[in-house]
C-alpha cells in the first residue's frame, strides 16, 4: 500500500500544526464559530447533536494493521471505545472534544493518516472498490489513480471553496463495487483494442434529495490526461455551479440545468483553453505510486485447499460464512475474506477498539498486513490463503465478527440518524436493528439470497436508501417518525434509483412491511432469480398489493 515519503509526511505534519493554531484561536475566541466552521470542516470536524464528530479519511478504503491499531487507540483514549465505519470508506468518532482534536490528528499523522477534506465544500476522500488489487474480475488496481487523485485534490487552492461537497469514486473492474454512477465524478477503467488504458468519466451522479445517475462525458480518456480533465470539470463547476441554494448546489444540478450536452461542451472548451503541461499525469510519478501497490508476494498454491475443504465439510457455520463472506481472488489458492460489521441486532458499521485490534492482528498474521473498509460499512481482508480461512474464521467468530451475511438481508447500510445526527428527521439505527433481528435466521437469509437494505435518517441519503434494493427513508410528520419505502434501487454498473411504493410506515411496522415485501418476492421469483431481477421483471404492483391491499 501507499507509504508516505518525506514530502507527504511534512505536508500532513504542517497541516496538523496549522489546525492546532486554528483550534486554539477558536478556543480563545479570536475566531468566531462562523469563521472557524469551514476550517474545521476541511479537517473533518463536525458539530453534532451531542459532541464534535471527527471523520478520518481512509483513502480508497485501504488500511494497514498499524493504522487500524491506531484507530483502536483513538477510540479508547478520546472516544467511547468504538468507531463507526461509513459508506464512504471512512471512520467516524462521535464523541470528540475540540481540545483533543489536534492531538488526535498528530497521532494519526504518525501512521500516515489524516482527516483532510473529509467534510466541507471541497473534494472529499476518494473511494474505490474494496476488493481492489484482489478481485478476480479486475482489469487493474484502481488505487494508484486513487492516490494520484488524493494528492492532486489535497488542499487544492482553486477547488477548496466549491459550491458544495464533491465526491470522486474510481473502479478498475467491470462489476462496479464503488458505486461510481452515483458520485459527482465516477471513473471506470477500460482497455482499448491495443491494450491501452483509458478512463470513462461520469459526471453528475449523486444521492441526497435529488438522486441522479451520472452521465458519461468521455468514454475513453487517455490516462495521462486524467488530472487535466478533472481540473476542467472542477473549474466549470466552481464557476457556474449554483451558490444561491445549497440544495441545488451539487454538480448534478448544474449538469441537469445546462443539459448534458451543454455541460460537456463547457468542459471541453475549458479543457481546450487550459495549458496542460503542469497537470499531465507523468509516467514516472504514476510508476512511483504504482510501485507501492505492487501485489504482495503471493505463494504458488494449488487452487484446491484440502484444509479448507475439510473444515468446510465438517463445520456448517464455517461453510455458511464461506458461502457469503468469502469471494474469489485473482490468485489461485487465495481468497478475499469479508468481515461483517453487521451482527444480529448490532449497529451497522460500528466496531469496538478490541474488534479493530482483532482484525488488525489477523491482517498482520494472515493477510499481508492489509485491511479494507467497504462502502457497505464492512471490513475486508483482501489477500488470505484459502488454507488459513478456517483459522481466521475461528478468531472472528470468537470476537463477534463472523456474521455470515455479506450481501444478504442482515447486511444493512444505515446512517447514524437521529441518535447522533443534527440533521436527522428520524432514527435509522433502531430500524436497522429491528430488521436485522427479524431476519436473524441465517438459513432464511441464505434462502432469500442477495438483498441490499439501505436506511437513511433524512433526505440527505447518507445511508444510500435510493440505491438499496429495498430503501428506507426516515421522515418526520408532525413530530412522529415514519418511514418511506422504495424498491428497485441499485448502485452497481446497472445502477438505478428506487421507486417509492406508497404511504410510509411507523417505525414499529417497518419489519413487517419488509417481511411482506420479501415474502412477495419469494412467492413470485423464478428459479435462481435474485430480488432485484425479480423486481425489475415484476414491477411494483405485486409488492404494493401485498403491502397496502389488506389495509
Amino acid at each position: 500500500m501507499y507509504r508516505y515519503d518525506e514530502f507527504d509526511r511534512q505536508f500532513v505534519t504542517e497541516r496538523v500544526a496549522q489546525f492546532r493554531d486554528q483550534a486554539s484561536r477558536r478556543l480563545s475566541g479570536a475566531l468566531t464559530e462562523d469563521e472557524f466552521r469551514p476550517l474545521r470542516l476541511m479537517n473533518g470536524l463536525y458539530l453534532q447533536l451531542h459532541a464534535y464528530m471527527l471523520r478520518i479519511a481512509v483513502p480508497y478504503g485501504t488500511l494497514s494493521s498499524r493504522q487500524l491499531n491506531t484507530l483502536a487507540f483513538i477510540a479508547e483514549k478520546w472516544d467511547r471505545g468504538y468507531g463507526h465505519f461509513t459508506t464512504r470508506q471512512n471512520i467516524q468518532f462521535n464523541w470528540i472534544k475540540l481540545e483533543d482534536t489536534a492531538d488526535i490528528l498528530s497521532k494519526l499523522a504518525e501512521v500516515e493518516m489524516h482527516a483532510i477534506q473529509t467534510s466541507g465544500n471541497c473534494i472529499r476522500n476518494v473511494t474505490t472498490d474494496q476488493w481492489a488489487g484482489a478481485a478476480a474480475d479486475e482489469i487493474a488496481d484502481p488505487r494508484p489513480v486513487g492516490e494520484l487523485v488524493r494528492q492532486w485534490s489535497s488542499l487544492h487552492p482553486e477547488f477548496s471553496y466549491l459550491p458544495r461537497k464533491f465526491k470522486i469514486a474510481v473502479t478498475g473492474a467491470p462489476n462496479d463495487r464503488a458505486a461510481v454512477k452515483v458520485h459527482d465524478i465516477g471513473l471506470r477503467l477500460h482497455l482499448n483494442d491495443k491494450g491501452e488504458r483509458g478512463w470513462e468519466v461520469l459526471v453528475g451522479g449523486g444521492l441526497g434529495r435529488t438522486p441522479v445517475i451520472g452521465v458519461t462525458v468521455r468514454d475513453f480518456l487517455p490516462e495521462h490526461e486524467l488530472i487535466a480533465y478533472l481540473e476542467a470539470i472542477m473549474r466549470v463547476y466552481n464557476l457556474y455551479g449554483r451558490r444561491d441554494n445549497k440544495y441545488k448546489a451539487r454538480i448534478k444540478i448544474l449538469v441537469h440545468e445546462l443539459g448534458a450536452d451543454k455541460f460537456r461542451a463547457e468542459v471541453e472548451a475549458e479543457y481546450a483553453r487550459r495549458p496542460h503541461a503542469d497537470t499531465k499525469v507523468e509516467e514516472r510519478e504514476l510508476q512511483r505510486i504504482s510501485a507501492y501497490f505492487a501485489p504482495p508476494k503471493f505463494e504458488k498454491l494449488p487452487r484446491w485447499s484440502a484444509t479448507f475443504e475439510e473444515a468446510r465439510a465438517r463445520n456448517k457455520e464455517f461453510a455458511a460464512w464461506v458461502k457469503t463472506n468469502v469471494a474469489a481472488h485473482r490468485i489461485d489458492g487465495y481468497a478475499i475474506a469479508n468481515v461483517s460489521l453487521k451482527p444480529e441486532g448490532g449497529i451497522p458499521g460500528d466496531a469496538t477498539a478490541d474488534q479493530m485490534r482483532v482484525v488488525a492482528d489477523l491482517a498482520q498474521r494472515y493477510a499481508f498486513d492489509e485491511i479494507r473498509v467497504s462502502h457497505h460499512q464492512n471490513l475486508v481482508l483482501p489477500h488470505v490463503r484459502r488454507d488459513d480461512l478456517f483459522a481466521i474464521w475461528k478468531v472472528l467468530n470468537a470476537n463477534g465478527l463472523a456474521a455470515s451475511n455479506i450481501g444478504l438481508a442482515g447486511d444493512i447500510i444505515a446512517c447514524p440518524g437521529l441518535d447522533y445526527c443534527s440533521l436527522a428527521t428520524a432514527r435509522s439505527i433502531p430500524i436497522a436493528q429491528s430488521i436485522s433481528r427479524r431476519f436473524a435466521d441465517l438459513n432464511r437469509q441464505h434462502e432469500i439470497g442477495p438483498l441490499r437494505i439501505n436506511i437513511s435518517g433524512c433526505i440527505n441519503a447518507c445511508g444510500h436508501h435510493h440505491v438499496g434494493h429495498i430503501g428506507i427513508l426516515g421522515l418526520d410528520k408532525k413530530g412522529e417518525e415514519y418511514y418511506q419505502i422504495t424498491l428497485g434501487g441499485s448502485s452497481s454498473e446497472s445502477a438505478s434509483i428506487g421507486t417509492i411504493l406508497g404511504p410510509g410506515f411507523a417505525g414499529e411496522d417497518v419489519p413487517d412491511a419488509i417481511e411482506k415485501i420479501v415474502n412477495t418476492y419469494l412467492a413470485h421469483r423464478q428459479p435462481g432469480e435474485e430480488f432485484l431481477a425479480a423486481y425489475r421483471r415484476l414491477g411494483a404492483q405485486p409488492f404494493k398489493e401485498a403491502l397496502y391491499a389488506a389495509a
Binding site: 514530502f7 504542517e14 496549522q18 479570536a30 482553486e158 471553496y161 464557476l239 503541461a277 503542469d278 510519478e285
Partner: protein
C-alpha cells in the same frame, strides 16, 4: 483600507469610483467592470493607471481586449465561502495578465495562502485581524501537491522535489 502585498501591510493609493461617480482628472482609478465596458474609449486616455473591479458572473475571456491597459484587477469575495474568484484568478493569469490582482471583500487570513497560489498578489485586509496573523497565515504550508501554482513565498512543489533528477520542470508562472 490597508492592503497586504508582498509580505507587508501598505496603504491603498488607488481611487475607487462607482458607476455614477464623477471621474477625477488624473490619478490611479479603479472602476466597476460595467463602467469599463461603457466608457472604454475615454478611459484609455485617462491620465493615470486604470484598474477594474470584475464580477463573479462575467467571463474572463471578455477581459482580453482590455488587459494591456489594466494595472489592477480586483476580484470580490461576497462571502469567504464563495470560491468562484479562485478560478477567475487562475483564468486571468492563464490569459496572460501579469500585473496586480487583488482579493477584496470577505477574505480570511487562513485563505490567503490559497489565494497567493492561484495568482492573487494583494489583499484588502480590513481591521478584523492583526498584521502578524495575516503574515503568519500566508505561509502556513511550505509544500503543495499541485504543479504550476504561484509560490511567491517560496513554497515547494512536492512533484518537482520528488523528481529533481527530471529535466527542469515547467517554469513557474510569474505574477506582477
Amino acid at each position: 483600507m490597508p492592503l497586504l502585498k508582498n509580505g507587508s501591510i501598505i496603504s491603498d493609493d488607488w481611487i475607487t469610483i462607482g458607476l455614477e461617480d464623477p471621474r477625477p482628472e488624473s490619478g490611479d482609478i479603479v472602476v466597476p467592470y460595467a463602467r469599463l465596458l461603457k466608457e472604454w474609449e475615454s478611459l484609455t486616455d485617462h491620465d493615470g493607471r486604470l484598474g477594474v473591479i470584475f464580477t463573479n458572473i462575467d467571463r474572463v475571456e471578455a477581459l482580453t481586449l482590455f488587459l494591456p491597459r489594466l494595472a489592477l484587477i480586483v476580484l470580490p469575495f461576497p462571502s469567504f465561502t464563495d470560491g468562484r474568484a479562485y478560478s477567475l484568478a487562475r483564468q486571468i493569469r492563464e490569459i496572460g495578465y501579469t500585473r496586480e490582482l487583488r482579493a477584496a471583500g470577505n477574505v480570511l487570513p487562513d485563505q490567503v495562502q490559497f489565494m497567493l497560489q492561484v495568482g492573487f498578489d494583494s489583499f484588502e485586509i480590513g481591521d478584523r485581524f492583526s498584521a502578524d496573523i495575516w503574515l503568519k497565515a500566508s505561509r502556513q504550508m511550505s509544500l503543495a501537491y499541485q504543479r504550476g501554482l504561484f509560490r511567491p513565498l517560496g513554497q515547494q512543489e512536492v512533484w518537482s522535489e520528488r523528481h529533481r533528477e527530471a529535466e527542469p520542470w515547467l517554469e513557474q508562472p510569474h505574477a506582477g
